[in-house]
């Protein structure tokens, strides 16, 4: 009897579920009511990744644009975890939308070769004056040289970033602990090593350097000290030429140093496979003594962790000592961000001329002070209010950063691209107010040499070259990573010429010279 009952309830559950789910799609398919207007609405299909903070059921933003521009923005969200696959499928089956938002410039450039996008460089001055105004002449020239194609066509509008929210990462220390161990707060990599060893013997035998996000991240901070990178980059010590970092002597020094950290037990044994939880647990256990992050991080996170763990919070940074150096005569490099994000907005060839004009007028408005404020904060009184110090802040449900009705809010970043985030131009005044630490650290670092981050190195390949470099990259990359790992953990000795030459030999066999030549040639074609 009981069995029958259970079976019956299981079947009932299935039937109910079936009914409920049959209703679900129809319930959500209700059309958005159009306002009473005389001018017909122009409907535009916008494709973007789901990295977005607007609530899915919230039409406040789209209603506003509808009202003001007679523009009906219909968003299609491609899941960010498979954005590239969805995008390439939509292009190859002719089902792409009218406007693309938040797409990396490299992706736009790939498809622009086939004429999917409208060139925009000719209409910037006439149609997008406010966008252009956000850049200095120098910055604009740099943008054109790195973002446009061989014919000088610009297909993607990068998002102009506020300098007040970007700058090099810096080192934080628990200075008091270094001093307690009888060491000085480090300024060079050797002093860091000595200091940590002193702490290890005198204060905390569990001192460790944890690492998040795998092998590539283990060099963070140290690569600036050793003036090198583990990718292809423009090396100032090689006259700004394109160089593959991991085969240079500077990188060898870096590997010798990393190996020393590993052998002495300072670098976490499982640095390449550490999980986020493992990583942060070392911070909250007080086993870490330095940290490489963005300015202000000590207050945002590090000290909070120690406080929660009932350890005296003593993380701090020193404006005179933000970077470590490995070559004191040359000094370290700082990380430079571009004046724009590589995330871009593009208009496809599907959008007709009239609609394009309308979309451009909306774009341009979004670059005005009013448009910036609207995109970042919405409507005053409804979504935000301005406090006495002039800083806008969200109110009501918009102030809840962890509201899970916004997927983006799983990460708590209410500030994001698009609705309730910066769109084409990030507001400088807001950024300065929100991130005061960047201002200080950028000022303190202004005389240091740069290594570029987030600025794409432009290449113009032919079809055959593109295939060839992809072929070579796979080999070069895997040989290099394999050896980097062996050098750090000491199965190969980076200090021994035999081992190092074996690695270089392998790289040559893998075709590093041909690979770099291809890249240099392709890059040379872009410089006008």
């Amino acid at each position: 009897m009981r069995r029958t009952l259970r079976t019956a309830s299981a079947l009932a559950f299935l039937v109910l579920a079936l009914l409920a789910s049959a209703c679900a799609p129809s319930a959500t398919a209700t059309p958005t009511p159009a306002g009473p207007t005389d001018v017909p609405l122009t409907s535009v299909e916008v494709i973007r990744s789901t990295n977005m903070s607007q609530s899915y059921s919230d039409t406040l933003f789209t209603d506003f644009v509808k009202e003001k521009f007679k523009l009906d923005l219909r968003y299609t969200y491609y899941p960010s975890s498979t954005f590239q696959e969805k995008l390439s499928l939509s292009f190859s089956t002719n089902s792409y939308g009218d406007v693309l938002e938040l797409v990396d410039s490299a992706i736009i450039n790939r498809y622009s070769k086939d004429g999917f996008f409208q060139p925009l460089e000719g209409i910037i001055d006439s149609k997008l004056p406010n966008y252009r105004k956000a850049y200095s002449d120098e910055d604009w020239a740099f943008l054109l040289s790195s973002m446009s194609d061989a014919e000088g066509r610009l297909y993607a509008l990068p998002v102009r970033m506020a300098t007040g929210s970007t700058g090099s990462n810096i080192f934080f220390y628990r200075s008091a602990q270094f001093e307690k161990a009888g060491a000085k707060v480090p300024t060079t990599v050797e002093e860091l090593y000595d200091g940590l060893m002193a702490i290890k013997t005198k204060i905390n035998p569990n001192v460790t350097i944890p690492n998040q996000w795998g092998l590539a991240n283990v060099y963070s901070g140290f690569d600036c000290a050793f003036r090198t990178q583990n990718v292809v980059w423009k090396d100032p010590d090689a006259g700004g030429q394109l160089v593959y970092g991991p085969i240079t002597d500077k990188f060898r020094d870096l590997l010798i140093y990393m190996n020393k950290l590993y052998e002495s037990g300072l670098l976490a044994k499982e640095f390449s496979t550490m999980s986020d939880e493992q990583f942060w647990s070392e911070y909250s256990a007080g086993n870490t003594y330095f940290c490489w992050r963005y300015p202000g991080f000590h207050n945002k996170k590090l000290n909070g962790l120690l406080t929660a763990a009932k350890i005296e919070p003593d993380w701090e940074y020193d404006l005179d000592n933000l970077l470590l150096s490995a070559y004191p005569d040359k000094g370290p490099l700082q990380q430079r961000y571009g004046t724009f994000y590589t995330a871009t907005v593009a208009i496809t060839d599907k959008l007709e001329a009239d609609a394009t004009a309308l979309v451009l007028s909306y774009f341009d408005w979004s670059c005005t002070e009013e448009g910036q404020l609207f995109h970042e904060f919405g409507v005053e009184g409804e979504t935000y209010e301005v406090a006495g110090d002039g800083i806008p802040s969200f109110i009501g449900k918009y102030s809840d950063a962890t509201d899970t009705n916004k997927l983006g809010s799983y990460y708590g970043n209410l500030q994001d691209f698009g609705p309730f985030g910066y769109f084409l131009v990030e507001n400088e005044a807001h950024a300065n107010k929100f991130y005061p630490e960047y201002k200080e650290s950028n000022a303190a670092l202004k005389d240091f040499e740069y290594m570029d981050l987030f600025v794409p190195i432009p290449y113009r390949f032919s079809q055959a070259e593109e295939t060839r470099q992809a072929e070579l990259y796979v080999v070069v990359d895997s040989v290099s990573k394999e050896y980097q790992l062996s050098f750090i953990v000491g199965t190969k000795d980076p200090g021994s010429d035999a081992d190092w030459n074996e690695y270089i030999g392998k790289m040559e066999k893998a075709g590093i010279d041909e690979y770099m030549q291809l890249l240099r040639d392709a890059n040379a074609r872009t410089v006008k």
Binding site: E270, T273, S275, Q463, E466, A470, E482, A510
Partner: protein, 332 residues
């Protein structure tokens, strides 16, 4: 030749297929077809499904011989260089081509032969358990890992095998050994893949084995009991042989897909965490993934897929033939 498998080996041996087969042979095709109209009727929806969804899109195979251009589509794209074989040549020229093939074949052979075994042993054990509640509880819990994503599975194993905090290494240290960083060592890659897959599949696989046990004629067990056979004997001579068919068929099928790396996601996650194990962990799937990351090369991917399919098909035929000769089991 055909028909040797099933009916002839049905548990209760009846007068099997031969006369029927000979009868069928002499009849003209259409008369037999009319006679078997019920069977044809049953076949139609399935067959239509295959023709529409598998055969119509098959023109896409030509992609492998073209330089695919998104704008021009599959038909409009120009043929590739070297008589259309350019992408194949490029694939064969990959310096680690043979290492990659060997890795893929090894990994898949290992998985093909050993992966079903834990499930079989567990199903046999479950079948012998008489405490119904305990049995049900164990079985239900054993499904759990199957529902976890690969990311979660790799995360769990990384945690268990962690050299600093992992359970396994604590035990090793307790026994006086040195902690081993399993994820970092190439020689542990294949055993690790096998362990992870087995852990995920052990409960789920019992579904099929237990269902097979359920169809065994209970009279067989009863007469064996009468003959004085113990539990072990019954397990060995009645239950286990019933598994042979599906095990062998599974083997043939995975033989046919030797080059398609199973457990690709786990493989990728392990590889990404640790490029140091590349010498064993680089399989065709990984290679394709990495090529694809740099640039979406449709034609190249299609060619690797095409070459893969050809090899698979040949392997499948060989596997099927060998299996029919040796074990009497076959797919067709």
């Amino acid at each position: 030749m055909d028909g040797t498998t099933a009916v002839a080996r049905a548990p209760a041996k009846g007068p099997a297929g031969k006369p029927a087969k000979e009868r069928a042979k002499r009849r003209p095709f259409f008369r037999t077809l009319w006679k078997q109209r019920f069977l044809v009727l049953l076949l139609i929806p399935g067959l239509a499904n295959f023709i529409v969804w598998h055969y119509i899109p098959m023109y896409g195979v030509t992609l492998a011989f073209k330089d695919y251009n998104i704008r021009q589509g599959i038909f409009g794209s120009p043929w590739a260089a070297d008589l259309g074989l350019h992408h194949l040549v490029s694939f064969l020229n990959y310096p680690y081509f043979w290492r990659m093939i060997a890795n893929t074949v090894w990994l898949n052979l290992l998985l093909a032969f050993f992966l079903p075994l834990p499930g079989i042993i567990f199903a046999l054990a479950l079948n012998e358990i008489r405490l119904v509640r305990f049995k049900r509880m164990v079985q239900t819990v054993s499904y759990f890992p199957y529902f976890l994503s690969s990311v979660a599975v790799v995360g769990i194993f990384a945690m268990i095998l962690s050299p600093s905090t992992g359970v396994v290494n604590s035990i090793i240290e307790l026994l006086g050994g040195e902690p081993i960083y399993f994820l970092m060592k190439a020689e542990f890659f294949r055993p690790l893949m096998l362990t992870m897959s087995a852990w995920q599949a052990v409960g789920w696989d019992t579904i099929i084995w237990l269902a097979r046990i359920a169809t065994i004629d209970t009279q067989l067990y009863e007469s064996a009991t009468v003959d004085g056979a113990g539990r072990l004997k019954k397990m060995w001579y009645i239950t286990l042989p019933a598994f042979k068919e599906w095990y062998v068929i599974g083997l043939i099928l995975s033989f046919g897909s030797l080059l398609a790396s199973s457990g690709f996601e786990k493989n990728l996650l392990l590889y990404q965490a640790n490029p140091g194990i590349v010498s064993q962990a680089e399989t065709i799937g990984i290679y394709l993934y990495r090529r694809g990351l740099v640039d979406t090369q449709f034609s190249y991917g299609a060619m690797v897929g095409f070459a893969n399919m050809l090899v698979c098909l040949v392997m499948l035929f060989i596997g099927n033939l060998v299996s029919r000769k040796l074990t009497d089991e076959a797919i067709w």
